[in-house]
């Protein structure tokens, strides 16, 4: 594969009873069709009822680590931004 372009693909898998697609990993494949098949072998063991998304890594735009601070600063000094002022009834669990 020295002279062949095998780009990187990101794989997202929704398990049989899962609610959402979760990033499972990445793999190399020449195109989307084979990326799907490889993902099936590598990440689902061909279990039935799962859904797979493959996305070329180049299509993903990630937030920059350099801009992490302005991007994700939680503004903790502005408590009115957080929904923390509700009384929670005693009977409610798992909240």
């Amino acid at each position: 594969m020295t002279n062949t372009d095998w780009p990187l693909w990101e794989v997202f898998v929704r398990s049989r009873r899962g609610l959402s697609h979760t990033h499972a990993g990445s793999l190399h494949a020449p195109d989307a069709e084979l990326a799907l098949r490889n993902a099936r072998d590598l990440y689902t063991r061909r279990g039935e009822g799962v859904s797979i998304w493959v996305v070329p890594s180049s299509a993903i735009t990630a937030s920059s680590p350099d801009e992490k601070d302005p991007f994700f600063e939680p503004a903790a000094d502005k408590p009115y931004r957080h929904p923390t002022f509700y009384e929670i009834p005693d009977g409610v669990q798992h909240l």
Partner: protein, 252 residues
């Protein structure tokens, strides 16, 4: 188990014997091809393809175990028979060659196997249950082979040439699968037209020429099912059976 050679399959009588013989033939197909695909471990063109070929080999080995168990003791049948007692098609024993040869062999065989298992699963014969389970695996094998045939045929000039060479080289072994096989409630002869149509469609889409040579080569006609095999098969068996024969009766 003893170290003596089991040179012939167990021999029940009547209809059961025919079913047993058919299970042995189909089991040998799967066993021998699984062994060939296992040879790719560590040598496939890319890691992902390595996993795919291993997956297919494991599917086939699973089929072989069920089928050989119907015919007798699976280990004894796999490891203690001589070449002449194997009933596999000559197609599956062909050496891996380059990747294109392996893909051509997969395309020819999995297309046949899918048609056969689908027909068996639709019936109510002794092998219907097994076939219903295996046909899903085989559909994946066929899809995998088709995908690669398309890419190699429609790839570079070099890959196209190699894929064509492989398709041509294995063509003479593609008549044997469709010879009548006692014990099946499906006549393989009836599957041949669909096989030819399917393979022709894939090769055409891949920009390849459908080979025009004979599909059964003279003295080779139907020989695998009668226990007559091609030259490299003995060496493959020697490797496969070596450990078992060196330590007869061992458990693992």
């Amino acid at each position: 188990m003893t170290g003596t050679d089991t040179t012939t399959a167990p021999a029940p009588t009547g209809a059961d014997a025919a079913v047993t013989a058919a299970a042995l033939a189909l089991g040998d197909d799967a066993l021998v091809l699984a062994q060939r695909l296992g040879e790719w471990a560590g040598s496939a063109p890319v890691l992902e393809e390595e996993v795919a070929l291993a997956n297919i080999a494991l599917d086939l080995l699973g089929q072989a175990r069920v089928l050989l168990s119907l015919a007798g003791d699976e280990d004894e049948l796999a490891f203690l028979r001589e070449e002449r007692a194997f009933r596999n098609l000559q197609l599956v024993e062909q050496p891996n060659g380059d990747f294109a040869h392996t893909i051509a062999r997969q395309l020819y065989f999995s297309t046949y196997q899918r048609l056969l298992y689908a027909a068996l699963a639709a019936g109510d014969g002794a092998l219907a249950g097994l076939a219903a389970k295996a046909v899903k695996e085989v559909a994946y094998h066929q899809d995998h082979a088709e995908q690669w045939t398309l890419r190699l045929g429609d790839g570079t000039e070099e890959s196209r040439r190699r894929m064509q060479t492989a398709c041509d080289a294995l063509w003479r072994h593609t008549g044997e699968p469709f010879q009548p096989l006692d014990g099946l409630d499906v006549d393989p002869t009836t599957l041949e037209a669909a096989w030819l149509e399917s393979v022709t469609a894939v090769l055409t889409r891949a920009g390849l020429t459908v080979p025009d040579g004979p599909r059964t080569g003279a003295w080779r006609a139907g020989a695998g099912r009668q226990g007559l095999h091609t030259e490299s098969f003995g060496r493959m068996l020697a490797e496969m059976q070596h450990l078992h024969r060196s330590h007869p009766g061992a458990t693992w």
